[in-house]
């Protein structure tokens, strides 16, 4: 007779607080948060990490992570992170930013943080819309996509084209790890976590600026179901924002995580 014992396959990360998040049901912000917390747990970084929250839906990110946090003005997270990292180089510093924050109002800050090779990690949530202010057009809104400020669909003749941040940041000499992943299903979530791990590994190894762009959902402002929002990422977003490794420092190649 073989006796058995219970093994925990998965449990809530230690780096999470016991707080119910304010995100809508099915919003992938929660998945991105969880992956960061898991990576920080696995690398044992919690007690030396300083997070920088943005303005946007994740403005309250600091409530959900059990670690030191600051809350930056809209778009300025990379500047605040720079200010912190330069005086506390031994600490782990990461920003968490949405597409309006990072690719619109904070474009100067993100580009120059990358150009300087600031040794910080940026988690970039791209859901192609402004969530917190009620679903307006974002710099990453897809051509033809309806938002509250492009009610007839984004007309690229009038409003320009979506911005591909991973591609842009990868050409900066200061960046050490720049990838795009997606959060629309379990397989891609696993790959996203691996990427987040490598981004933090890059920072721990002093390899310069690291950024993981995560294609994310916003069922509420896309006005579709949670299930359809995952299909929207797979069918509509990935063709515009191809997944892939845009820059990987040679020092990270072959690293088993």
């Amino acid at each position: 007779m073989v006796s058995t014992t219970a093994e925990v396959v998965y449990q809530r990360p230690e780096s999470f607080t016991d707080v119910h998040t304010h995100y809508c049901p099915g919003c992938t912000h929660g998945i991105a948060h969880r992956l960061i917390a898991e990576v920080i747990d696995e690398m044992g970084l919690r007690e030396k990490t300083i997070g920088v929250a943005p303005v946007g839906c994740s403005v309250f990110a600091y409530k959900y992570f059990k670690m030191d946090f600051v809350e930056a003005p809209h778009g300025r997270a990379p500047a605040m992170a720079t200010g912190i990292k330069r005086v506390l180089p031994e600490n782990t510093v990461f920003t968490y930013q949405g597409d309006g924050d990072l690719a619109s109002i904070g474009m100067a800050e993100i580009m120059h943080a990358a150009a300087r090779g600031e040794n910080i990690t940026v988690i970039f949530i791209n859901n192609a819309i402004y969530g917190m202010t009620g679903g307006q057009m974002a710099p990453t809104t897809l051509p033809g996509m309806k938002t509250t400020s492009s009610p007839f669909g984004r007309d690229v003749e009038l409003t320009g084209h979506p911005i591909r941040m991973a591609e842009i940041l990868a050409i900066m000499d200061g960046s050490g790890y720049i990838v795009r992943r997606s959060l629309h299903n379990a397989a891609n979530i696993r790959k996203s976590k691996k990427a987040i791990r490598l981004a933090f590994e890059a920072q721990e190894r002093g390899l310069g600026f690291s950024m993981v762009e995560l294609l994310s959902s916003c069922p509420t402002n896309w006005k579709i179901s949670v299930r359809d929002s995952m299909e929207f990422i797979a069918d509509k977003m990935i063709p515009v924002f191809p997944l892939g490794d845009y820059k990987v420092s040679p020092s990270l190649e072959g690293l088993k995580v």
């Binding site: 003005p73 500047a79 605040m80 912190i84 330069r86």
Partner: protein, 374 residues
Amino acid sequence: MAKELLKGNHAFAEAAIRAGVEAFYGYPITPSSEFLEYMSSRLPSLGRAFVQAESEVSAINMVYGAACAGKRAMTASSSPGISLMMEGISYIAGTEVPAVVVNVMRGGPGLGNIAPSQGDYYQMIKGGGHGDYFPIVLAPARVQEAIDSIELAFDLAEKYRSIVHVIVDGNMGQMMEPAELPPMKEISKEVPDWAVTGAKGREPNTLTSIYLAPEDEEVTNLRLLKRWKEIEKNEVLYQEYQLDDAEILVIGFGTAGRVASSAIREAREEGIKAGLLRPITLAPFPQERLIELTKQVRRILVVEMNSGMMLDDVMKIVKGQVPVEFYGRMGGMTPLPDEILDEIKRVAANKGPGSDDPRDEWIPRLEGRILGEK
């Protein structure tokens, strides 16, 4: 240490280094760029942080970050650059972290020019950024006083977890003057208990300026106001010159105050009992001393390098008890001692009632002077 001949901006920067500044983040702008240049040559070799940021917006947010980490952090800029920094300044005030901002003021509005001005009085003293907050503002008038103000600014910033502005004008930044620098201060190892440094062996710290519930924001605003009341009680600084028997009170700050003191010396030689009140802290303003002086003097002349901004504060305090007159130069013009002497003589001879807005009488006088100078 002996006095040396020091250039304003360099002296202020070195004073900040000796006061233990651990991070300087800035962006070039005339007439404050020497501050940034000096920091770029000194800080890296001391193992302290220096970044030339991509903009003033970014620079102030780097300061915000370092301030949250509990480090002595500062920036220096000039008027248009300060306008860009106002977002970050409001956040720093709202988060209640200490930081020092030096404004080497120039002519405006808009791009204006690079000549010395005091046109940022409202912007610096009344807040400038959004929301309910109260910056401490120091306005030194000579290089030595500016050197001393920098260390004081850090001390006040930390004591009250407040934003502190040190405002000078382009004259001060470019001026060479004998002054003595303090000895190098050792950097404090003490970490404030509110700072974000990694939550090792303690509960996590969060630094934010968001109070989504109006009830919480109101309590925060009240806390800032009560702290400001303490600052008003404890931290007023001013210089007096020839006030003991003064009948004509001249009020001016920074360069305007300094030029006025030369004019007062000459007026005294001509038998006019004039004296000077020069606020060193524009915020908090030396209100009590001014109220006392309204009981003593016959007439007040406010001298500024702007369109009469401090004038409004003086009028509010004097409440019509004594006639107040105004003389200002604007747009980067610095008044000469002779101009102010003429004004003192005119004011001393004027027995008329005061005006609700002394600017009304000043405008034609200034227009006349501009025509005469042509």
